[in-house]
Symmetry: C2
Subunit: 425 residues, 2 copies
Amino acid sequence: MAVTESAPPATAPPVTVWHDRLSARMRGMKSSAIRELLKLTTRAEVISFAGGLPAPDFFPWQEIEAATDRILETRGKEALQYSTTEGFLPLRELLVRHMARYGIEVQAGNVLITSGSQQALDLVGKLLINPGDRVVVEDPSYLGALQAFTAYQPEFLTVPVDEGGIDTERLEVALRSGPKFVYVLPNFQNPSGVTLSLERRRRVIELASHYGVPIVEDDPYGQLRYEGSHLPPLVVLDAEFHGTGNHVHAYRGDLIYLGTLSKTLAPGLRIGWVVAPEEVVDKLVQLKQGADLHTATFTQMVAWETARGGFLDRHVRRLREVYRERRAAMLDALERHFPPGVQWTRPQGGLFLWVTMPPPLDSARMLPRALEAGVAYVPGHSFHALGGGEGSMRMNFSYCPPEVIEEGVRRLGGVIAREMAACAT
Amino acid sequence: MAVTESAPPATAPPVTVWHDRLSARMRGMKSSAIRELLKLTTRAEVISFAGGLPAPDFFPWQEIEAATDRILETRGKEALQYSTTEGFLPLRELLVRHMARYGIEVQAGNVLITSGSQQALDLVGKLLINPGDRVVVEDPSYLGALQAFTAYQPEFLTVPVDEGGIDTERLEVALRSGPKFVYVLPNFQNPSGVTLSLERRRRVIELASHYGVPIVEDDPYGQLRYEGSHLPPLVVLDAEFHGTGNHVHAYRGDLIYLGTLSKTLAPGLRIGWVVAPEEVVDKLVQLKQGADLHTATFTQMVAWETARGGFLDRHVRRLREVYRERRAAMLDALERHFPPGVQWTRPQGGLFLWVTMPPPLDSARMLPRALEAGVAYVPGHSFHALGGGEGSMRMNFSYCPPEVIEEGVRRLGGVIAREMAACAT
């Protein structure tokens, strides 16, 4: 065979069959429905109720620009350098003061800054879960938490939620089986929008203490309440229960609390935090060091400089007005446009409500037709760790302005009505 | 017993013995020597050769401020919002063009943005390591990689490095035992400062291919070469070996390559990246989604806006001049101030050199006396996965200006001389 000068060199094919080399934990992982959907919904003609996105028109970009300029001009060498894993101390202290206004009395030593509260969920899973350990989650629960924990191969135990939050009788049954921890979102739960009642909050703390099972409390929306009275987070009740509920002492209890600036300042900064007993913070710091060394110094300092001096509280008050109006717009539109037989929750805060269609409607199978009609949501099935929720869907009301919400609900109501008519024939 | 109205309510003690609840992986974790040291060395009077910190005087804070203002004014809603897990596409495309100037021909679909390359190490461990899997590392190796991998409970196999990099004969022995992957830093290795020779690079690729073991190539310093000629990264040789080394095709080989902007732009932004076959990127995206959803949109867009238009290349050229001078200052000071019998590497680039003292000197035991004398380093022991390195230390030359390097080496030389004298008596 003739070989020319320009012939390529003999080469070997790749030998790595990558999927044979993956760790066992990858077998339980699947791509998230939210993520795939977010891709579809970037099409301009689709009205998206799918993401959990804050309203971009209300990002305080001018305040963030001014804060960034001040930080770079006065502390630029620090803001661009490596920093400690625990996080920027003035930001941790600011968060301590901020939480105190919601009744949470802890010290900076109880606070670890994370790269969004998603990272906190990952670190909690890494800290606590051995393969096969039982973990109690609400049914439905936050998809990102299920995904974070799944990497550590737990066995999920699910406990249903109703309008008053997690069912405490069913919770007790689950606690008897010796789970590693209980993961719960007491305020305006993602995805259902329901809030854990005060009576049940006390019961959850009693039960967890009785069975010696720690709680992981996820509270991304606690400050975004649009009606009703603030209820004490579980971490406050836990501190009271254990007699450590005063600000002279650091928090030392049976609970890990997660907060975030993603819903109150801006998600693009990726600033979350963990509150935990100092011994737990120390362990989480070790894990975070291996995971990403530290959260970006730059965004931590910018967030601090933006938030301080009362701005964060003022901005949260403004967001409450904006989202209260959008929630009302969605509830109003649902009344007018959704067919009889469809039900939904009436959240007192947060970003989401939960719609349940009558059988045999299936929200996942309906989604392509909704996208054709120019509207998106997340099928309820995604939020159930052990299956279920086929008739449900999560709808976000924070992202779209009221008039867009009206139009999107109108489109979706038409899709559901046609689906119901098709089933009836 | 009299009970007054103001008596505290009966309380229960905390019931969670947290350390009994930790996952098995926590048993192998220990707090990092680097981290504890970084705390000590923030004292103003200590000259620190301990951290791996870039020179803060050369952070391009004015360019970053201007870039931030442009981003917030033109794309603020996007910069502050949630974004895709893969990373900001224009940044991934910029990195593709940047890498091409160093011979690495890949496509944006091969690139995943990570929260510093530390996160890439964590994701690689999560992707590949089952408890008990063998992982080959250099001896010594990067402490942060050992820490990231340890969370997934591997069995480390160590292969020594000399002035030409990893010992390929010993590597072959290790490869015969069926490891999951080989982790290697070919350029100006952290901590030793040595560079893998071209001949050995080819041999590493041949061996890895022959034994069907993938390589994880960590290249944080490849652009920071101060003498000698650029050598092709392993990812380039791997692509050539497998006949995929042209930019018409996406990379599909047996290697995962890690890069970072921490040493060339600013570590406080936490921007790293992974290059891998698309099927591997897809899996890493799933893991990253669970780990932190995505790297901060804000820092990704600011890094892109700062770096583009040739600024990153110009800035790297400037850093080379700065660090070349500092490396020369340290090598010069070592010659003058260190006692006979002490040896050190002469790195062609990067941030570190490696000092070896004669027995029975112990760098960890000497450290308190060095800190008393006002100088810090990292004891060599920290970098050995399976022990050893007691006589060695890692010294950083990028952080301190030349005159400070001179003074710090003088102090350290005195400490070592006294230590040797004490051992001789």
